[in-house]
């Protein structure tokens, strides 16, 4: 069974059909990429999957159940984590604290227990901290754990954002243009981290602009153009696909 199944998804903004009848599946354990030129509807597709806004028609099923009407925090609770194109750090918090917020759904202390420091919150708090430190170490930025996240370099913020998303212990990780704003070295570095995450057994679905990253790390690629799916295949075949070449390089 596919981990994520997108079926005949449509999104209409007024007269514009931003996503037109798109269907695809994401199998457990793979890295799948959605590519396409600017305005192809990639981010719109992403926002419908994560519950940011509803689809005009069509369905998104995650782990076999439909996500219709679910808000983003509920979708996150089901085990789908995401990052943002323009990194959304929690400013005024350290890198570690940022990741600790990611442990939210894996913990449960409420207002009362937190204010009175009830004994059962002690262990939970320690677990949150330990697990978050582990993730920062996994993404190789533990030395910046106590730095204000907003003051880190862009590439490091990416890594913190990945750690924060992993803190949810997701089964599916959505990455919205993980290479946006990064130079080629940082892009290669992020690519390596994404592969490392996949090797943990976490399925990855990414939307990306940067072809080099996508071709290097993806198992399968979906190509969108003006809201429509025009190809879906392994990277080798996508590179040969005449229609994809036409879109990306222009007609001869």
């Amino acid at each position: 069974m596919a981990l994520l199944e997108v079926k005949q998804l449509n999104k209409r903004f007024g007269g514009l059909l931003a996503v037109n009848d798109v269907s695809f599946q994401v199998e457990p354990g793979q890295i799948k990429a959605v590519i396409g030129p600017n305005g192809a509807g990639k981010t719109t597709l992403f926002n419908m999957i994560s519950g940011t806004f509803p689809a005009t028609s069509g369905t998104v099923s995650f782990k076999g159940s439909e996500l219709k009407g679910k808000k983003p925090f509920q979708v996150a609770g089901l085990g789908m984590a995401r990052t943002f194109q323009n990194i959304k750090m929690f400013n005024g918090m350290t890198a570690l604290e940022n990741v600790m917020v990611g442990r939210h759904v894996q913990s449960g202390s409420g207002f009362f227990a937190s204010m009175f420091r009830m004994p059962w919150t002690w262990k939970e708090e320690r677990d949150i901290r330990d697990k978050s430190m582990e993730l920062l170490a996994f993404l190789e930025i533990e030395e910046h754990a106590h730095t204000d996240a907003a003051s880190l370099a862009f590439g490091q913020q990416r890594a913190v954002e990945l750690a924060r998303a992993l803190a949810l212990e997701p089964s599916l990780l959505l990455l919205d243009e993980p290479a946006a704003g990064l130079n080629i070295y940082e892009t290669a570095e992020v690519g390596r981290l994404i592969t490392k995450i996949r090797d943990l057994g976490i399925t990855v679905l990414l939307v990306e602009h940067d072809m080099s990253l996508v071709m290097d790390i993806s198992d399968e690629i979906v190509v969108l153009c003006f809201g429509e799916k025009i190809a879906e295949d392994v990277p080798g075949n996508i590179q040969q696909d005449p229609e994809v070449i036409k879109i990306y390089l222009g007609e001869e």
């Binding site: 925090f73 996150a76 929690f90 207002f111 937190s114 204010m115 009175f116 420091r117 919150t121 998303a165």
Partner: protein
């Protein structure tokens, strides 16, 4: 534990102020220090709402007034005319009422202060939930305006209803006996114990809020402040957390209202006024928004000065001016102005300029 230790120096300061006023024969300052402590209780609650959860409220004087007015009305209006109704006789037999005599020797039957306190705080919480659910969907200016509207309504209700004493407010509110020998009242002989009651409560509230912001809930709140959308994606039910924080701060305000009313022996419509709400917001801003210690310090200092009448007839104008100056020159609060560092920088630059000329 670390939080408790950080409170200890403050406890020493509280005791120190008592000893100092007692040594210099200026014990009358304790009265304003007590009142400032109650106002500061509201302010630290508002600080968590504004600075940590990132939601503004220009209606917190409303919650203070709901607490104060309800408690005042319930403990002063005699129920003797309704003595025979089932409700009143039930309350009486359940021990929730107090009988006594008013100033003119007339028999009185009123709600016991602790019952009135619970009713008042609970009512404030219910009202906070009721208006919080629709209003907290708004952001920024819109939220400010909606909460301002709430504050205006409470003010006009206090001013219009006979039950709440209209323009005169409610006076002759009885002492709130916490336990034998310990009561919240403005009696001269109880001044020192009231100083410690108010400050004990404020320190306790401070410990609770310091615990809160450094916890799973606090991190979620700061996350919401940082990025609503990202917090949502982390599984934080942002709407629920905002609402709970709003209610929590309303409860702090209502408790402050109840106790200050018993301490003062009365409450008037000015406590519900919009200018009071603006003042609270200004104080949180001066303290540095996301800075509980700053809010506490400024809450005490500014309220104390205001209560001592330092600002004279320009009281509200001073708070308006403070708000403007802080927004212009120290949007992160007055404690963020590292004066010595700035002075050094300024002097250093002057020196460089001169060298440049030479």
């Amino acid at each position: 534990m670390k939080k408790l230790l950080s409170i200890l120096p403050l406890l020493a300061v509280v005791i120190g102020i008592h000893l100092l006023t007692s040594a210099t024969d200026t014990m009358y300052y304790l009265t304003q220090m007590t009142m400032s402590a109650y106002y500061s209780l509201l302010i630290i609650g508002l600080c968590v709402l504004m600075g940590y959860a990132g939601q503004i409220s220009l209606g917190h004087a409303g919650f203070f007034a709901i607490g104060g007015y309800l408690s005042a009305a319930l403990t002063t209006h005699s129920l003797i005319p309704y003595q025979d109704t089932t409700l009143v006789s039930f309350l009486d037999s359940a021990g929730l009422l107090l009988s006594g005599h008013d100033l003119y020797g007339e028999a009185l039957l009123v709600v016991a202060p602790w019952v009135a306190c619970i009713v008042a705080v609970f009512t404030a919480a219910v009202i906070a939930v009721t208006i919080g659910i629709p209003v907290l969907k708004l952001k920024g200016h819109y939220l400010a305006m909606a909460t301002l509207g709430f504050g205006i309504i409470i003010y006009r209700v206090a001013l219009a209803m006979e039950y709440f004493g209209e323009a005169d407010g409610i006076s002759e509110v009885p002492p709130f006996v916490l336990m034998p020998g310990l009561s919240v009242s403005g009696n001269f002989s109880d001044r020192v114990q009231n100083y410690y009651i108010a400050w004990g409560l404020l320190l306790f509230g401070m410990v609770l809020l310091l615990n809160l912001i450094d916890s799973r809930v606090g991190r979620a709140l700061r996350g919401i402040h940082g990025s609503d959308e990202a917090a949502d994606a982390m599984g934080v039910n942002t709407a629920r957390f905002k609402l709970q924080t709003f209610v929590l701060s309303a409860v702090f305000a209502a408790i402050a209202g109840v106790l200050l009313t018993h301490y003062n022996g009365g409450i008037g419509p000015s406590e519900a006024g919009v200018m009071k709400s603006v003042r609270y917001v200004a104080i949180v801003a001066v303290g540095g928004m996301a800075h509980l210690w700053g809010a506490l310090l400024m809450g005490i200092v500014l309220n104390f000065l205001s209560l001592r009448g330092i600002f004279g007839s320009y009281d509200d104008a001073v708070f308006g001016l403070i708000l403007i100056l802080i927004m212009l020159f120290a949007p992160n609060g007055i404690l963020s102005l590292n004066i010595r560092h700035r002075l050094k920088q300024y002097l250093g630059r002057g020196k460089q300029d001169r060298e440049g000329e030479a």
